[in-house]
């Protein structure tokens, strides 16, 4: 596994995601409030591109008729912004773990380690920055894949 510089930190603001190619593999990098997570872009169910999915939360219920509302008329989500739903069949995955919500024991999206590295460390290597200019004054998102 090599480390790859995939983006400058400023390119993936909190709450957004970015699709990158690492060794021909499509990997989607999420910024959840300053924490970065990298998942294989391919949905393990039937192969939809998770990057194109809806980033949302979980609607949960303790039983029929019991929805949780944060304010009147507003359903409360848990893990708000931390769930990615496949753009095809709508399967829900936890961005932090890659686990499927409906079938967590058997189904998960492959996850890759992410770190944030200062530019001054990167310009000396041994990182792989494919067609990506790295400058000393910025911080970068590095994916191990």
């Amino acid at each position: 596994m090599a480390k790859h510089v995939v983006a400058a930190v400023a390119d993936i603001p909190p709450g957004t995601r970015r699709l990158t190619q690492v060794n021909g593999r499509a990997i989607v990098v999420f910024n959840l409030g300053g924490e970065f997570f990298a998942l294989n872009n391919r949905c393990p169910h039937r192969g939809g591109s998770l990057f194109h999915g809806k980033q949302t939360g979980l609607v949960e219920s303790d039983g029929p008729g019991n929805y949780r509302y944060s304010r009147p008329g507003e359903i409360e989500y848990t893990k708000l912004g931390e769930i990615i739903r496949c753009p095809w069949h709508g399967w829900e995955f936890d961005i932090r773990t890659g686990q499927s919500w409906c079938d967590p024991k058997r189904v998960r999206v492959r996850q890759y380690a992410v770190s944030i590295e200062p530019g001054e460390a990167l310009v000396q290597g041994p990182y792989v920055a494919e067609s990506f200019p790295v400058s000393v004054e910025n911080d970068y998102v590095v994916v191990e894949a």
Partner: protein
């Protein structure tokens, strides 16, 4: 940054297997009412602008939308240049036809087509326009896309007239029904359509959806979309039973019916139940000369999508074997959200021979293509 998302990497992964060109029996090109305008008379265009359509759906606009995803479509199917999913031929080629190596696909337009419209004259005018637009807007530019003969199916004679107009035209693959007809499909009001289809040599495709004016279930309206989408098979099972029991296949031994987007795991149990009851009350329907399941196996084809996903994939193979390895046709349902990816949809343990039949051989034989 703009990245081309889906690389055709599957070929490399499956490199041990030869892949035939895929025949996709369910593609949904999107058209607007404006697209149909050149093929509608001023009379019907003015009518539509003034009064609109009256579907068999009570005084509401139609089905509840969105369905799981916006416009019931894959979120990645909205053309980058704008417009609705599957409205842009170039993007459809890039994302679907070329990407998967689709050799040939059947267009099953769902709306606007006038099917199920209460006003028979308007229904017939819109069906004609929908057929012309499939030819001019799609098939002429992309001959891989074959058209469906859209018919005003609630009126048998008007439908017969539309089928006759298309007889001998190889740009059309089959005659299209939606499953939610106002009466069960075997009733005699629909027989002129079956007769015309047999005369023209067209199979009948029955695609789920439509407005029957009645609930999907036979016990009232469901509360949830998950019920609606699951009950398509139950709804269609009633019409399949009707087609068999009314004696349609005794009258029309050449009639071929393709069930599209209804799933198929329910079919063997329907056959078993019908046979069980036929043995007990054969004299109620003496016009049936064979066990009901024999008609079911002989006259019906099924499209794959949405494939049932069993915990044990081999259970699906058992079902396929019952239906018949010659009767299963691959379908993707592009661009809808419950799309099946041709590269991964079929159970992995299928033999090469059966895989090829499902991907193309069965459709070639049914639709008599070379």
């Amino acid at each position: 940054m703009n990245i081309e998302v889906r690389q055709p990497v599957h070929g490399a992964k499956d490199s041990g297997k030869a892949r035939v060109g895929i025949f996709d029996c369910d593609i949904h090109p999107k058209s607007s009412l404006e697209d149909l305008r050149p093929y509608l008379s001023n009379r019907w265009w003015d009518y539509l602008q003034t009064y609109g359509q009256r579907q068999r759906h009570g005084y509401v606009k139609g089905f509840p939308y969105p369905k799981s995803q916006p416009l019931a479509s894959r979120r990645d199917s909205w053309p980058p240049g704008g417009g609705l999913p599957a409205s842009d031929l170039d993007f459809m080629r890039q994302q679907h036809l070329d990407f998967y190596g689709i050799e040939w696909g059947i267009m099953n337009p769902l709306s606007p087509t006038g099917q199920g419209e209460q006003n028979d004259e308007l229904s017939a005018a819109m069906a004609f326009a929908a057929n012309e637009y499939q030819l001019e807007g799609w098939n002429r530019r992309e001959p891989r896309l074959k058209a469906s003969v859209v018919i005003p199916y609630e009126n048998g004679e008007m439908s017969r007239a539309e089928i006759r107009k298309r007889t001998g035209d190889r740009r059309f693959a089959h005659v299209l029904f939606l499953s939610r007809t106002s009466e069960l499909l075997g009733k005699r009001r629909y027989w002129p359509i079956f007769e015309a289809a047999v005369e023209a040599g067209f199979p009948i495709g029955v695609h789920v959806f439509g407005s029957s004016g009645r609930p999907m279930s036979n016990t009232g309206w469901p509360s949830f979309y998950i019920e609606e989408i699951t009950e398509h098979s139950a709804s269609l099972a009633a019409s399949v039973t009707s087609l068999i029991v009314e004696g349609v296949f005794e009258r029309h031994p050449e009639l071929k019916i393709v069930l599209i987007e209804a799933g198929f795991a329910w079919i063997p149990s329907l056959g078993w139940r019908l046979d069980q009851n036929w043995k007990r009350m054969r004299d109620e329907v003496p016009h049936l000369r064979r066990a009901p399941s024999e008609y079911l196996r002989e006259h019906f084809w099924v499209s794959t999508q949405p494939m049932e996903e069993a915990e044990e994939p081999d259970h699906v193979l058992d079902v396929m074997a019952w239906i018949g390895w010659d009767k299963i046709l691959f379908a993707s349902d592009y661009p809808h959200w419950d799309f099946d990816d041709p590269f991964v949809a079929l159970p992995p343990s299928l033999s090469e021979e059966r895989r090829n039949k499902i991907y193309s051989g069965n459709a070639k034989a049914l639709y008599r293509l070379d």
